[in-house]
Amino acid sequence: MPKSFLICQFILNNVLDPLVLLPMLGFAWSRIRGGFERPRWIGPFVMVVAFDLLQGIVFTAMAYRHLNNQWFRHVFDPLVFLGILWILFLTQPSSRRRRWQYFSCGAVGIVAAVVGFSLNTMHFRNALFTSVMSLAFLTFCTFELRRMLLLDDAIPLERQPVFWLYTGLLILGSGTLIFNAISNYFLHVLPKSLILIPWVVMSCVYSIHYVFIAKVFLCRNPTSS
């Protein structure tokens, strides 16, 4: 086994993968200590994060047992995507236009998941769907952040949970877009010595995302002056 492969595997397994627990740890800490903001969408968001964590654990466990786990991702990634879209939708007051935008995006995601599955088969990543997912997060979060900036309120952005949610998803969407588009190509062409490097890079991006998602639960309640 090449040395670089072993190093990457070590980093992935022992340093980056455990960071997937950060969001739930953040949530647990916020419940234990109290005094943190709890907007109305935080409950459904916890459910989505917990579901994502659960399917991530199953996926990793299948990998450790050398089972083909791509089909698992093909099935559960779209569910997580729809869950996050639902949360993004809940973060702002509903309107006809907004409902239409999010519903359309969800429908496009489902179509991409089905088409991507038939294109990439059960043995490769669903490049089409994951790219669409990244693009959707990138687009929606950019618009939501712009709207937040223009909002006439006096609360600094960094004190609002929703800001960290948008930011986390924006970094995830922008950082993973290229990887999602060409990951199957990597699987085809990269030698074993290099194959895990893109996955390490992606795990770093995911780690930043997890830190931001943990911060969603750790925004202090505003104190009255």
Binding site: L145, M148, L149, A154, I155, P156, L157, E158, T167, L170, I171, S174, G175, L177, I178, F179, I182, F186, V189, L190, P191, L194, I197, P198, V201, M202, V205, I208
Partner: protein, 283 residues
């Protein structure tokens, strides 16, 4: 392309994208923080300005009105000291100027009180006919002195109404004052119509003149310190506080104020809905 190069390009591109993302978010947070700071500074400046405004209003009561009252009293005393005809003429001019200044100061104070919501109405049962008669007499004299015709007409006020007669008089006086001031020739009509229905009296007061008329953008005259002609060579002096005060008082009475441009001159009207009582209520 060699595979290590491919991986390197991918790595660098991802790093650049994430860094750009960070930079954009940092700029966003910084910009929002600056907006909030600016908003706070503006609110603080507005608060300080309001405090100064309140302090000025309080001081103005004492520092402007009290000396004017003293001057006015002294001038009246001088007039009683058997002055020569020349002296009497000078004293009369001084009294006239003092009265104008007193009115102006009072209007400024009223306007300030209207602006910060401290001006309150003091409704009482009153016979408005008496007040209209006083107004017609005073402004009739002013109009005649200027060579204008003056016609006043109001219905018999059988029932007393509940209103702040002093403030209503102030409104009508201001409209009549403007009519006299801005009418070089012709006549002024002062009309009152009252419709009594179920213990309510809908009062419509009209002041019609044959003066210079309203400018196209007359709505701005309802804003404080606006003048029809703001040039230094304008025909009539003033601070532009009369109509804003009228508008404020009418609003306070839940009434309506309007201006209509006539072929020659202007029609100003005020509508207020007042409560009526039987004549015995006056005692």
């Amino acid at each position: 392309m060699q595979e290590p190069h491919l991986v390197l390009i991918f790595f660098l591109t991802t790093v650049v994208v994430v860094m750009l993302c960070w930079l954009a978010l940092f700029s966003l947070v910084h910009a929002k923080g600056r907006i909030i700071r600016t908003q706070r500074e503006m609110l603080e400046a507005e608060r300080r300005l309001r405090l100064k405004h309140d302090a000025f209003t309080q001081n103005a009561h004492h520092e402007l009105r009290t000396p004017l009252q003293v001057i006015s009293g002294n001038l009246e005393m001088l007039r009683l000291m058997d002055p020569s005809p020349d002296q009497e003429k000078v004293i009369a001019q001084a009294i006239g100027a003092t009265q104008r200044l007193t009115t102006l100061v009072q209007r400024l104070l009223d306007l300030a009180a209207l602006a910060d919501g401290t001006l309150k109405l003091h409704p009482a049962l009153t016979n408005l006919g008496t007040h209209f008669a006083v107004l017609a007499r005073d402004f009739g004299q002013s109009a005649l002195a200027k060579g204008l015709g003056f016609e006043a007409r109001w219905p018999p006020m059988d029932r007393p109404v509940l209103c702040d007669a002093q403030r209503l008089e102030q409104i009508v006086a201001c409209l009549l004052d403007n009519a006299v001031a801005f009418t070089p020739r012709g006549s002024i009509h002062f009309r009152v119509e009252g419709t009594v229905h179920a213990e309510r009296c809908a009062l419509r007061i009209e002041v019609e003149d044959t003066g210079i008329g309203l400018p196209d953008d007359w709505a701005r005259l309802l804003q404080p310190f606006e003048q029809g002609d703001a040039s230094l060579t304008r025909a009539r002096c003033g601070l532009g506080v009369g109509l804003p005060m009228v508008a404020g008082l009418v609003a306070l009475m839940h009434g309506r104020l309007g201006f209509e441009r006539l072929p020659i001159g202007t029609l100003a009207w005020v509508e207020v809905d007042l409560e009526t009582r039987s004549t015995e209520a006056l005692g």
